[in-house]
């Protein structure tokens, strides 16, 4: 081998070594999505149990937490996105009042998935209903179909998004059950932030989980159960 070539080789080896040494610490330190190399399966079904007795009127902790986590403005104009909202309801006949959070119910038979022309609205194997923004054309048919008015349309340009939560103009979005947090083994922001622990998150299929035990012991209902969509979110005390 000629002198020049061996010199070049030496140079390349050294610079690679230097480069490796310089980025290695960075690669150990950075906090991107925790690696998961296998697909999710339907062995797990994520769901939530909301105890409306613990939910206080006027408290908006879950909404604020969701807005902060997902980079929503928190605005209340008719064009602003609201992934979760507090609803105050009053029984017409009895006059009983109740406060509860309403978000995407992550149905087992989601009408939004049925109507989406491109398949952008889809249900992940583990039960989370999401919008694949790569395919969403912004037709808003899913918004018409949702019985819970869970979906919002992004009406204006979005900047400075949370790197974990991509969202942009012209697509439809809704509560993702903080899928980026769930995949990292954490809880959704709303469940984590409720001061009264009104929102219980867990695996509905896991017999050892707290939510499974609660669903099987206390009375709870699904909203609009008559539509037979089998939502993953249940309400206690409704």
């Amino acid at each position: 081998m000629s002198d020049v070539n061996s010199q070049r080789r030496g140079f390349l080896k050294t610079s690679l070594g230097v480069a490796a040494v310089s980025i290695a610490p960075g690669m150990l330190l950075f906090d991107v999505a925790h690696g998961k190399s296998e697909a999710v399966t339907s062995k797990v079904r994520w769901g939530m149990m909301i105890d409306t007795a613990q939910c206080k009127e006027g408290c908006n902790e879950c909404v604020t937490a969701c807005n902060t986590e997902n980079g929503l403005t928190g605005g209340k104009l008719p064009t602003d996105s609201q992934w979760i909202r507090k609803i105050e309801i009053k029984d017409i006949s009895s006059g009983r009042e109740l406060s509860l959070p309403m978000m995407c119910q992550h149905c087992e038979q989601p009408p939004c998935v049925d109507v989406c022309p491109t398949g952008a609205s889809f249900k992940r194997e583990d039960g989370i209903v999401l919008v694949d923004k790569h395919r969403c054309i912004g037709c808003r048919y899913c918004m018409m179909a949702c019985p819970y008015k869970a979906r919002s349309f992004v009406h204006e340009v979005v900047t400075d998004q949370n790197p974990d939560v991509p969202r942009g103009k012209g697509t439809v979005e809704s509560c993702t059950m903080c899928v980026h947090k769930i995949d990292a083994g954490e809880q959704p922001a709303c469940a984590q932030s409720c001061p009264n622990k009104a929102i219980l998150f867990g695996d509905l299929n896991n017999q050892e989980s707290e939510i499974y035990k609660k669903v099987h012991s206390v009375a709870s209902v699904q909203v609009r159960a008559d539509l037979q969509l089998n939502p993953g979110v249940r309400y206690q005390g409704l």
Binding site: K76, L77, P78, T79, D80, S81, Q82, R85, K86, I87, E88, I89, K90, D91, I92, S93, M102, P111, V113, D114, V115, C116, P117, T118, G119, A120, R135, C136, I137, G138, C139, R140, Y141, M143, M144, A145, C146, P147, Y148, K149, R151, S152, F153, V154, H155, E156, V157, K169, G170, T171, V172, V223, R224, L227
Partner: protein, 393 residues
């Protein structure tokens, strides 16, 4: 007696009409550009009223497009001679209005740059995805049908092509009705009555549009349509108007009977402000009752009356669609039956909708596209009816 020569436009009028059409279409495209840049925030639509004025225009154009084919079908399928002569113009109108309506729909998308995605990713359970196939199929079938009519050697195939077009257009209108019929959660929609209702509405609206276009083109060419031909067709319009009034009445009557639908029906028919006004005055009176009087009234029923009636049917169509599409969304979703709800997201509240200039421009742009296609095609090819001396069949 109308001459046997085909109708072409006089130059000056033609260029003037084209200029107007292209200008309005350009205005529509301008508003699309603005929406692309700034987002739908500049429109009047929001998270409660997700489909607005553009959809009113688009659905009118699509429903009328399928209805106008009736004129052709009565000729090709049922063999009535004066309708046969009108089949090419009806088919052209159908293509033109379908193109206009679909353009409005596609350009109102949040991401119209992703139309390719829509054309290549089909969700088999989505009626929108079915419609992509049905609408494109309709275009191709009409083109084939036109070919069988205009190419003398293919005239023998006109009847089978006509039957196919006749069946396909029923599927198309059913598809349009099913868009709404499948929305089980909404009180305004979710009814099996909607596909047949849309079919009957298409009969009336299609024929009304046909009358208007035919009369306009005749007058721009300073020719006169034979009154006896007009007499037959006006009765058909009358029947279709009666039919559509019946369907809408049946829909609302049945709806009102259900206790849980009463609130919504009272909103549409009595308490909703603009919606009852548009429904009663716009649709029932202007869109149905006055045309019926003009068509069947003693001493009336001449060409001018039929033209007025057709125009009013079209105005009634827009009124009904506005009430149906926008009014249906303005009434809040009943998420907790038996409860009153209130929230920061419009729960329990009637939503407001104020169309912006961009939506108006987009809607008219769609009409303009249909207009330009029709005018240009009539000048270039032989679409206008060539009536032989009228013999009752």
């Amino acid at each position: 007696m109308p001459s046997l020569s085909s109708l072409h436009f006089k130059n000056r009028i033609y260029w003037l009409l084209m200029a107007i059409g292209v200008l309005v279409a350009a205005a529509g495209l301008f508003s699309v550009h603005m929406m692309e840049e700034h987002g739908h925030i500049i429109s009047g639509m929001n998270n409660q009223i997700v489909w607005g004025l553009p959809h009113v225009f688009a659905i009118f154009l699509i429903v009328a497009a399928s209805g106008v084919l009736n004129v052709a079908s009565i000729g090709s399928v049922f063999g009535k001679v004066i309708y046969k002569a009108r089949a090419p113009l009806a088919s052209l109108l159908s293509i033109a209005m379908l193109a206009g309506g679909l353009t409005v729909l596609m350009l109102d998308l949040g991401r119209p740059d992703r139309v390719i995605v829509a054309a290549t990713n089909f969700n088999p359970t989505s009626v929108f995805a079915w419609n992509v196939v049905i609408y494109s199929g309709m275009f191709s079938l009409i083109v084939v049908y036109l070919w069988t009519m205009m190419e003398q050697r293919m005239n023998a195939w006109t009847k089978p092509a006509g039957i196919l077009v006749f069946a396909w257009r029923f599927i198309l209108t059913t598809g349009t009705g099913m868009i709404f019929a499948f929305l089980t959660a909404r009180q305004a929609y979710g009814s099996a009555l909607l596909p047949p209702m849309f079919i009957v509405l298409s009969f009336a609206w299609g024929l009304a549009v046909f009358h208007l276009v035919q009369a306009s083109i005749y007058s721009w060419n300073e020719k006169q349509l034979d009154d006896s031909i007009m007499a037959r067709k006006k009765n058909l319009l009358g029947i279709f108007v009666l039919g559509s009034l019946y369907m809408v009445a049946a829909y609302h009557f049945t709806n009102m009977y259900f206790a849980h639908q009463k609130g919504f029906e009272l909103f549409i028919l009595r308490d909703g402000g603009i919606y009852p006004n548009l429904f009663w005055w716009g649709y029932v009176v202007i869109g149905n009752l006055i045309p019926l009087v003009l068509i069947f009234g003693p001493g009336l029923g001449k060409s001018k009356c039929v033209m007025m009636a057709s125009l009013m049917v079209v105005l009634g169509a827009f009124s009904l669609l506005y009430v149906f599409i926008v009014g249906g969304q303005a009434y809040p979703l009943n998420i907790f039956p038996g409860h009153i709800a209130i929230s920061s997201f419009g729960d329990g509240q009637i939503s407001e909708y104020h169309p912006s200039i961009y939506e108006i421009l987009l809607g008219f742009g769609g009409l303009a596209i249909a207009f330009v296609i029709t005018i240009a095609s009539v000048r270039i090819l032989n679409f206008m009816p060539q009536d032989k001396p009228y013999i009752a069949d």
